[in-house]
């Protein structure tokens, strides 16, 4: 018997499409449908009420160095020597020694040191968009555990990962073994990821104090500590931030994806 740590009931309206894997032309990334449902956010609009999320497609992995390099070949404006300083700090792609060569270091690693503007532009160029904060968090919570023991162990792993993110040795996408029930990988355990609205609306009044973390912890499920850390970390970002542990993946509206499939 599966134990769902997600407290809110998940309504699957497009179950038949749930695990449709597909590729975009020229992109090796696979996307999966994340069916609509609801989840308990650590920062709900109304306390105690689940947040509803419509169906959307999400990249199964974070965008890799290899994929980002391909994007740079077609979009010279975003190469480090060309990018306007209004769109990124100097640390943009600083881990890349050169973008003039096809040989990208660690091609299967997620691209990091990218600003929000760069991530947003990449997703727009692929016909997608950055996932919203609620979409990302909802997908991250769609995991199944076989027992409450397993859920507790997972929560422990998360806690230790968030306290010791190793930016020197991130690892390839898909390497964490962590996957939600629809096949979305590495939402924990690899990097932090940009979302469209990375600061929640009430973030101005939040800071990393015990009261805030305490309020967020009240969810009491396997994800709440990790979610609290993410919300608080995101608050320190600004859209030009380029951090060695922050990358992104793209989301797609269902209609956009259906149109793409029809045209293939």
């Amino acid at each position: 018997m599966k134990i769902l740590t997600n407290i809110a009931p998940v309504t699957i309206t497009l179950a038949a499409l749930a695990v449709v894997m597909m590729s975009l032309p020229n992109k090796a990334v696979a996307q999966v449908l994340v069916p609509s449902g609801s989840f308990h956010s650590v920062m709900p609009e109304v306390k105690g009420e689940p947040v509803g999320v419509d169906s959307f497609y999400l990249d199964t992995t974070a965008v890799t160095n290899h994929q980002y390099n391909e994007f740079l070949q077609d979009h010279e404006d975003w190469q480090p020597e060309n990018v306007p300083s209004i769109f990124a700090y100097k640390g943009y792609l600083k881990s890349w020694e050169s973008t003039n060569t096809d040989e990208v270091v660690n091609p299967d690693y997620p691209v990091t040191n990218v600003s929000w503007y760069a991530a947003n532009a990449y997703c727009q160029a692929t016909g997608g968009r950055l996932p919203t904060l609620n979409e990302w968090e909802y997908s991250a919570q769609l995991m199944d555990f076989n027992s409450s023991m397993e859920a507790a162990e997972f929560a422990d792993r998360l806690m230790s990962w968030y306290s010791t993110v190793d930016n020197e040795n991130i690892g390839s996408v898909g390497s964490t073994g962590i996957e939600n029930r629809h096949g979305v990988k590495d939402q924990f355990g690899l990097i932090m990821e940009w979302v469209e609205d990375y600061k929640p609306v009430v973030a101005d009044d939040l800071s990393l104090d015990c009261g805030t973390v305490g309020r967020m912890q009240q969810l009491g499920n396997a994800y709440s500590y990790a979610a609290s850390i993410r919300y608080i970390t995101r608050m320190s970002f600004n859209p030009k931030s380029t951090n060695s542990t922050v990358g992104f993946r793209c989301a797609y509206d269902v209609e956009t994806m259906e149109d793409k499939k029809a045209s293939l």
């Binding site: 609009e45 109304v46 306390k47 947040v51 509803g52 404006d77 306007p84 300083s85 209004i86 769109f87 929000w116 503007y117 947003n120 532009a121 997703c123 727009q124 968009r129 950055l130 469209e196 609205d197 600061k199 929640p200 609306v201 009430v202 101005d204 009044d205 939040l206 309020r215 600004n238 859209p239 030009k240």
Partner: protein
């Protein structure tokens, strides 16, 4: 008038955590710090205005621009915000006012089509040559908001919580003046615009 003032104060202070449960009053978000050293015209997105024309931001290069972000279904705060923008525009010396362009950008990409924006412009009696009510893809609207430091977030009732901000861009597209909040004095911002026009003339 006193009542209106009270409402404004309420709106401005309603972003505290304790107010998040109150649907009606938590619409005003603070603005964020911005980069005013560099031109916003680096954003090369395409926009559609309420006349159905496709424009890019740098079409307005060389002249001062007033930018305001709003949404059409916002019936309480946004008319005040648009009225504030009008006060700034009409505060510019009449002889040079047609040097100024006003961009009113909607973040409701779902509902505010060019047709809806056209109706809005007519309703507000602002379907005039220097005024451009604009929409674009969501990612472009969000980028512009990030550059201006405008926060917005769609709520479950379809309305948006958002910052109230009027921004003046100089001829190069750099942020020259920001006015945050509703019903703010516009004299200083109007003086900034007059001075941008004068500087441009003397070049």
């Amino acid at each position: 008038m006193k009542k209106l003032y009270l409402i404004v104060i309420l709106l401005l202070t309603a972003t505290s955590l304790s107010a998040q449960h109150n649907h009606s009053s938590d619409n005003a978000l603070h603005v964020r710090e911005v980069d005013s050293e560099h031109s916003l015209y680096h954003l090369d997105a395409e926009w559609t205005n309420h006349r159905g024309d496709t424009v890019t931001l740098d079409d307005f290069k060389g002249k001062p621009v007033i930018v305001v972000m709003f949404y059409g279904n916002c019936t309480e705060v946004c008319p005040i915000l648009i009225q504030d923008t009008w006060r700034l525009y009409s505060g510019v010396d009449e002889s040079v006012r047609d040097e100024v362009n006003v961009l009113a950008v909607s973040f409701d990409t779902e509902n505010d089509t060019p047709e809806v924006l056209h109706e809005y412009a007519k309703y507000e009696q602002l379907d005039i040559p220097d005024w451009h009510f604009m929409t674009s893809e969501n990612a472009s609207v969000r980028s512009l908001a990030m550059m201006l430091g405008v926060q917005y977030s769609k709520k479950s009732d379809g309305h948006f919580a958002h910052s109230n901000l009027v921004t003046v861009l100089d001829g190069e597209g750099k942020i020259a003046k920001r006015v945050e909040g509703l019903n703010q004095p516009m004299e200083k911002a109007a003086a900034v615009i007059n001075s941008i026009i004068n500087t441009n003339k003397n070049k």
